[in-house]
């Protein structure tokens, strides 16, 4: 105990460890304080207050009542905007006087003034509904999501560890210790304990600073809410509360700090060199973070533990159209294995360092030579690194899309619109986009043989990729051609044949599965496409609804213009007809029936879920059982 207290005094006071660590904490506090302010994503205090006023009743779990209230708010805003536009038109056409205009405007102004806040609230409610998470008054990424390593802390750890070990080696104390039975190992044990304890305390203090800043951004009352409520954590695979996420991340950082400290102690003891302990460790941390940032390599290596939050970002992120998913995170099992590995390594490094200091005066001297220690640690390190590389090269069928640089790796999984059923194909489809030219190419990787099959016709060097629909049987790529026209290309996955199925160049004849069109409008866009679970798909043109079957020939199945909102529920297709009615086309019987008529239906308002069809008419949103 005496030696521990002595070493503590020496390291903390004489070798300035306390000042170095305090400086790190103070710098972190000063740099974090400006961030510790909740702005809710609005510029002024008034805007923020208004937003908080609106969002307050919605905070917490999503209920039907809340969803209805959000719909009401949205409709209120929609009506106000429409009325506002109408009033402007009337004023421009001199149908109303300026006084009348201003008087009527007063009715809608209060709603229009809080447009941004309403939109934000409705968006959050919808997102929470979709993601099954709580609604939080957070409209931007809080400090909790900052996933960068604190290089200053890494530097401080390396410095205090190497100072305490190397100073003793270069001073005359070592001769005294060598002549004392077990003096060197006892002294090293005390040193190691003091260093690890100081680093742990500093790490906890840094966590406290982070916790304080987070509490300023997000009051404690919300810490029990699901972490998925925070935008960037939406796809967090673990069921964590915000508080839980914070604590777990801080624990990871603590493990990371202890690992760094033990490596610094070990290297200092082995090499007695500041270049090896201070320089190399800090450089490795910076270089790995810089080089491995994009492909998540930095999280997969032990240095990633100092970064923290990235481990919980989640495995999948649905992209814009929910047609494919994106891998962005580190699997939780990997995080757990890595943490265990780091702790084992730290324990082995500390034990090895202490045992290697046994001197000849001890009776039962354990023969741990430096060379043996070095080789053991090398083996443990290589095991740790090889497990990291195995994990990096893994293929996990559940990771449906992996973002590697600018390349999107898609797998043949897709969500059937509306029902969200997940289908899996036998290919991994690699769609590589070139960020500089915007061009793209498609190739397939056979999952059984791991062979890469390039689709020769899929090089689009100058075209800009927009969407890619992938089914078990075909890929449909929507892109913008060099001359700015929107086009679509069809790739049959059975025989790899391909054809451009549409290109909306003005006044030029277009070929679409054997049909020739000549109009100035877009033949179809992705919003007018419907995929069924067999090889058929449907699309809308001005002439009506077409079906494309196995033979890739299009046939007109509904000979009347389809205005907007094509939706599909595995049995039927619903759409708004030009005659202000909603029609249903039964896919099995081919019967077309009118389910709503005689109402003024707002365009693009048709949507649905498993049980109901929703649309908006003059009286607001309507719900219709299927």
């Amino acid at each position: 105990m005496k030696i521990f207290v002595y070493e503590m005094k020496k390291i903390l006071i004489k070798q300035y460890a306390i000042i170095i660590l305090a400086a790190v904490v103070i710098v972190r506090l000063l740099s974090s304080l400006p961030l510790a302010k909740q702005t809710y994503g609005f510029d002024s205090a008034t805007e923020r207050e208004k937003y908080f006023e609106i969002i307050s009743p919605f905070i917490g779990a999503v209920t039907e009542e809340k969803a209805d209230r959000a719909d009401e708010l949205e409709n209120q805003l929609k009506t106000a905007s429409q009325q506002y536009e109408k009033l402007i038109d009337q004023r421009l056409e001199h149908k109303i006087s300026d006084i009348e205009y201003y008087e009527q405007m007063k009715l809608y102004e209060p709603t229009l003034n809080i447009k941004k806040q309403i939109e934000k609230t409705v968006e959050q409610v919808r997102q929470a509904q979709e993601r099954q998470c709580d609604i939080l008054p957070v409209s931007y990424i809080p400090i909790i999501c900052e996933a960068s390593a604190d290089y200053l802390f890494v530097l401080a750890i390396c410095l205090i560890c190497s100072l305490s070990i190397i100073t003793e080696y270069t001073s005359k104390t070592r001769y005294i210790l060598r002549t004392t039975p077990a003096g060197q190992s006892r002294s090293m044990a005390a040193k190691t304990a003091v260093l690890l304890l100081s680093v742990a305390v500093a790490s906890v203090l840094l966590s406290a600073v982070e916790g304080y800043c987070l509490s300023k951004q997000l009051p404690f009352e919300y810490w029990a809410y699901s972490a998925r409520g925070i935008e960037i954590m939406t796809n967090c695979t673990a069921e964590l509360s915000i508080g839980g996420l914070f604590i777990q991340t801080q624990l990871i950082k603590l493990v990371g700090s202890i690992f760094t400290a033990s490596v610094a102690i070990l290297i200092s003891e082995l090499f007695k060199s500041y270049a090896a302990s201070v320089f190399s460790l800090v450089t490795v941390q910076i270089v790995v973070d810089y080089v491995g940032n994009r492909s998540n390599l930095s999280y997969l290596l032990p240095t990633g533990a100092m970064r923290g939050y990235g481990y919980f970002y989640g495995d999948v992120t649905p992209t814009a159209e929910n047609n494919y998913m994106q891998f962005t995170g580190v699997p939780l099992w990997y995080t757990a294995v890595l943490m265990c590995g780091l702790l084992i390594f730290s324990a082995a490094a500390c034990a090895g360092t202490i045992l290697s200091c046994n001197n000849r005066l001890k009776r039962k001297r354990k023969k741990i030579h430096k060379a043996a220690l070095l080789s053991t640690m090398c083996i443990i390190t290589s095991l740790l690194l090889s497990s990291c590389s195995v994990a990096n090269n893994r293929y996990d069928p559940e990771d449906t899309m992996k973002l590697v640089g600018g390349s999107y790796t898609l797998i043949g999984e897709y969500n059937i619109p509306f029902t969200n059923e997940l289908k899996t194909s036998k290919y991994k489809i690699v769609l590589e986009t070139n960020q500089s030219s915007g061009g793209f190419s498609i190739s397939l990787i056979d999952l059984a043989s791991k062979e890469k099959l390039d689709i020769p016709q899929s090089y689009f060097s100058d075209e800009t990729f927009i969407h890619c629909f992938i089914t078990e049987h075909y890929i449909l790529v929507e892109y913008i051609t060099k001359d700015g026209a929107e086009a679509m290309r069809y790739y049959d996955l059975n025989d790899f044949s391909t054809q451009t199925i549409a290109q909306n160049t003005q006044g030029v004849e277009k070929n679409l599965f054997g049909l020739t069109f000549k109009d100035s409008e877009s033949i179809f866009t992705t919003s007018s496409l419907v995929f069924t679970d067999d090889r058929d798909f449907f699309f809308v043109t001005d002439s009506g609804l077409y079906k494309v079957g196995v033979n890739k020939n299009a046939s007109l199945i509904i000979d009347e213009p389809v205005t907007e909102g094509l939706i599909y529920d595995a049995h039927s297709i619903y759409f708004i007809s030009e005659k202000d009615s909603i029609k249903r086309y039964d896919l099995s019987t081919g019967i077309l029936s009118e389910i709503v008529s005689g109402e003024k239906i707002i365009p693009r308002s048709l949507w649905g879920d498993y049980d109901y069809i929703y649309y908006t008419n003059e009286n607001g949103e309507q719900k219709l059982a299927k």
Partner: protein
């Protein structure tokens, strides 16, 4: 000279330095690969669709080439748009890309590239016209603006591009920052212990007693300059060769504005000269870092603290770079493409000075200042007096 050789051996020609440098070069090669994947044009790579057609048409743009490619494009276009054309799945050797539709696209790209070269002069004429309008507008109102416009008119005169080529090697090289980062790391590693080690083992007292304080100081600095020059040269070669392996190293004599992103490059220089200028500016930045590291080293007795403070100083300077105007921060030289994209001027006593000239001059001044401070710290008056005494005793 002896001292210089000795310092060279002591600081640079050591196994750890060479090992670290080799490791960082390997990391840089990995980063090159990532850069090509992310920002390079994949079409021009050996297996890209543009590769063969590019080999056939690259070089000087002649009337014969223009007519040939235009005819080929029309031919391919006719094949692709014919009603009986079906997309084949097996490549045909008659075509550059193996497919008619592929050649249709790639020939169009070649035409576009040639068009850029031919029409470049028109862009410059338009720019000069605009400058003349600006001169007329500012005449008598703002002398600085007039001078600036006159300089622009002078800089953008008599420009033309005669060659069709792929310049991805150079475009990527000018955008690549990691090499400068490696140079900075290397300088820190090598020179942070330079003076500290001397103090830690009391060598400084022996040097003082021998009357070699100034000589050692200059030898150390000379060694640092040599190291910075060597490392910059090696990194430049590595970058160009690595990118060049993918896209080829040719057309070095072509003007810098032949690269699309440098259409309005302020200087009418060849790509080779631009590479030399870039290398020189990277060298200056590395020397600046080296001076700071040596200054810190000269104040510290402990190597560990010297490393730590050097890291902190570089970190603080990079942090400051974000809040300083780019014209006044030497760290702007990390990415050189900024200097070639546009003509940026700095108002020096009412005269417009190109940023590409101003910043190196500023960096040299900063280096001299830091050097003088370092001299004052490392060679205090007492030590110099002792040097004088030692000399007179020797005489």
């Amino acid at each position: 000279m002896k001292l210089f050789k000795y310092e060279l051996k002591k600081n640079i020609l050591r196994l750890p330095v060479l090992l670290l440098f080799a490791a960082l070069i390997l990391v840089s090669l990995y980063k090159h690969n990532e850069t090509v994947q992310l920002y390079g044009t994949q079409d021009y790579l050996a297996d890209g669709p543009m590769h063969n057609i590019y080999q056939a048409y690259k070089g000087e743009i002649t009337d014969e080439k223009i007519q040939r490619i235009a005819a080929y494009k029309n031919e391919m276009s006719a094949i692709v748009s014919s009603s009986d054309f079906d997309y084949p799945t097996t490549p045909d050797d008659r075509y550059y890309t193996g497919f008619a539709f592929g050649d249709n696209g790639s020939s169009e790209k070649v035409i576009e590239e040639m068009k850029y070269a031919i029409e470049y002069i028109n862009n410059i004429i338009v720019l000069r016209e605009k400058t003349q309008t600006a001169i007329a507008f500012y005449e008598g109102k703002n002398d600085y603006k007039v001078r600036e416009a006159q300089q622009i008119e002078c800089l953008y005169g008599n420009r033309h591009i005669d060659v069709y080529g792929n310049y991805d090697t150079y475009a990527l090289y000018f955008d690549y920052e990691f090499s400068t980062f490696i140079s900075m790391i290397m300088v820190l590693f090598v020179f942070a212990p330079s003076f500290s080690k001397q103090k830690a083992i009391s060598d400084d007292k022996i040097i003082c007693a021998c009357g070699k304080v100034k000589s050692v100081f200059f030898a150390k600095h000379l060694c640092m300059y040599a190291f910075c020059a060597a490392i910059t040269m090696i990194m430049t070669f590595t970058d160009i060769l690595s990118f060049g392996c993918r896209y080829g190293v040719e057309f070095l004599e072509q003007p810098i504005y032949a690269i699309h992103s440098f259409t309005y490059a302020p200087l009418d220089i060849s790509i080779f000269t631009a590479i030399l200028i870039t290398a020189f500016m990277r060298f200056l930045l590395t020397v600046f870092i080296g001076e700071i590291v040596l200054l810190i080293s000269s104040t510290q007795k402990n190597i560990g603290i010297s490393y730590a403070l050097s890291f902190c100083a570089i970190g603080a300077l990079i942090y400051l770079h974000g809040s300083l105007p780019s014209q006044f921060s030497p760290f702007s030289m990390i990415c050189m493409s900024n200097f070639f994209t546009d003509a940026e001027f700095v108002n020096v006593l009412g005269f417009p000075v190109l940023n590409i000239i101003f910043l190196p001059v500023l960096t040299i001044l900063l280096c001299v200042t830091v050097n003088l401070v370092c001299f004052a710290v490392a060679c205090p008056q007492r030590a110099i007096r002792l040097t004088g005494k030692a000399r007179s005793n020797a005489i």
